[in-house]
């Protein structure tokens, strides 16, 4: 392969945060900074006993899932988010991408923290070897990397949003599953922090994608839309294979696929497109959904109830200071 030079900005001006072209840049920067965390703050060692209750097969599955996630975070940190910088239209957007890139490297490193807490060196090496040899995982990486190398800024953002909002979820399923069974709960806490970050990343890159779309012709917009759905299908088919590779031995593949559909819809929405998978195939296991968010179930919807109950949300302590009443 011919070595490629990373495309860099031709020209840089001192960034002035007192002159803002897009308020979203500041809002997202602040949100990312407020969400900052490090794996060292999560008491992973409390999961050692729980880890010992998993069968060797379940342990192996967990490690493989995490090496797969490590690969994606590594790509996003060293190539994906960085490749978006030359396409940025404001200097503040560039700064946000550097934040995203760094956080992806924190995510990638946090899996190693989990490994070193729970597993032996040999097991860790075996899992990384598996990640190198698994065809579907490697294909997933290749597909995304190809688009990052391409010369179309909008397509790069599509690939990046699909990675942030869709490709991680075959992996994220497992720690949510363990958490719903009261296993590896500290690990799940760490993964939830990653999940929260990826949501902001997907939202922001998807937003910038939509801003970019506004500037191109109707014809180009249609081309990009077709491309998006093609890429999603290509990644989806591969993702289904990958899911079977991982989860067939424990009988969870069908449950994982619902989670994939659900998240594919959210990835599309981040890009401004309508959800594609119908609700008949996005009915995620309620235990998984509530591991993700404790108030995501239907019981929280007034419209779904008998209508006689007068549901008022539980009191939340806000620190917002400008409520006058």
């Amino acid at each position: 392969m011919t070595p490629e030079k990373l495309k860099l900005l031709d020209h840089v001006q001192a960034i002035n945060w007192n002159r803002i072209q897009d308020e979203k840049d500041v809002e997202v920067w602040n949100r990312l900074v407020n969400n900052f965390w490090l794996p060292e703050k999560v008491p992973l060692s409390n999961d050692v006993q729980s880890w010992a209750t998993l069968t060797p097969q379940e342990q192996q599955l967990t490690m493989r899932v995490f090496t797969g996630l490590t690969l994606l975070d590594t790509i996003q940190g060293t190539v994906g988010a960085v490749s978006l910088i030359p396409d940025a239209v404001t200097p503040h957007e560039e700064a946000v991408y550097t934040n995203i890139a760094f956080m992806e490297s924190v995510h990638a490193k946090s899996y190693s923290s989990i490994f070193s807490t729970l597993c032996s060196t040999k097991e860790i090496d075996d899992a990384f070897r598996w990640s190198l040899e698994n065809e579907n995982l490697q294909r997933k990486a290749h597909i995304v990397m190809d688009y990052y190398r391409g010369d179309e800024p909008l397509k790069r953002k599509v690939a990046s949003t699909l990675l942030e909002s869709f490709l991680f979820y075959s992996g994220f399923y497992l720690p949510m599953y363990w958490s719903s069974r009261a296993k590896l709960t500290n690990t799940a806490d760490l993964i939830r922090l990653i999940i929260r970050d990826e949501a902001v990343h997907g939202y922001y890159i998807g937003y910038k994608f939509q801003k970019g779309l506004e500037k191109v012709s109707e014809e180009k917009r249609q081309e990009i839309k077709d491309y998006t759905f093609e890429l999603l299908f290509e990644l989806y088919e591969n993702e289904v294979q990958y899911t079977h590779d991982l989860y067939d031995p424990v009988g969870l593949s069908e449950d994982v696929k619902k989670f994939l559909h659900y998240n594919a819809n959210k990835a599309l929405m981040n890009l401004g497109y309508e959800a594609m998978f119908p609700s008949s195939v996005t009915d995620v296991n309620p235990a998984i959904l509530s591991a993700l968010s404790p108030n995501a179930d239907e019981n929280h919807d007034f419209f779904s109830g008998s209508g006689s109950s007068y549901v008022i949300g539980k009191a939340v302590n806000t620190e917002d200071e400008d409520w006058d009443f």
């Binding site: 108030n295 419209f303 539980k314």
Partner: protein
């Protein structure tokens, strides 16, 4: 913290705040420039008013009972979850007296904070948190909210009689 001075002093920018624009829509919503909530409301096909983005924009004042649709910001612990623009809108006592329910948008990836803005407003304004949806909502969300709102307004008007 909570100021005892009401309404007039609520304006956060010094100088003249534009007089509120009177609106009678039964659906009032906020959506940032990313427009997810705007898209969702558009799909409902109901008459709706959007709370303005900037403090210098003319604020809205409701004249009829309404349901508020609001996205959730922030990430943890409730602080910053309700958009400033919505707080400003609800600081108008007339708007507060006419709100009948809240529908919220969010993302389950935010865990505890999923749709927290709806919870906070429901408690503050003592109205039901009617529905939660993610991002710009699916066709199922649109159908449920359309039907739900219809039933909700019918019930309210019956109760009033």
């Amino acid at each position: 913290m909570t100021s005892l001075v009401t309404a007039a002093a609520g304006a956060d920018a010094p100088g003249a705040q534009p007089e509120p624009r009177l609106v009678s829509s039964r659906l009032i919503y906020f959506s940032s420039v990313s427009g997810n909530t705007h898209r969702f409301v558009g799909k409902l096909g109901l008459d709706a008013e959007r709370i303005p983005l900037h403090p210098t924009d003319q604020p809205l004042r409701a004249t009829e009972p309404f349901v508020l649709v609001v996205p959730t910001y922030g990430g943890t612990g409730g602080a910053g979850s309700v958009p400033k623009q919505v707080i400003r809108f609800l600081n108008d006592p007339q708007n507060r007296s006419l709100i009948r329910g809240v529908i919220s948008a969010g993302n389950t990836n935010f865990g505890d904070n999923y749709c927290a803005a709806g919870d906070i407003i429901a408690v503050k304004c003592k109205v039901p948190h009617l529905y939660r949806f993610e991002l710009m909502g699916t066709t199922d969300d649109v159908a449920r909210v359309t039907e739900g709102l219809d039933a909700f307004w019918t019930r309210l008007s019956q109760n009033r009689r």
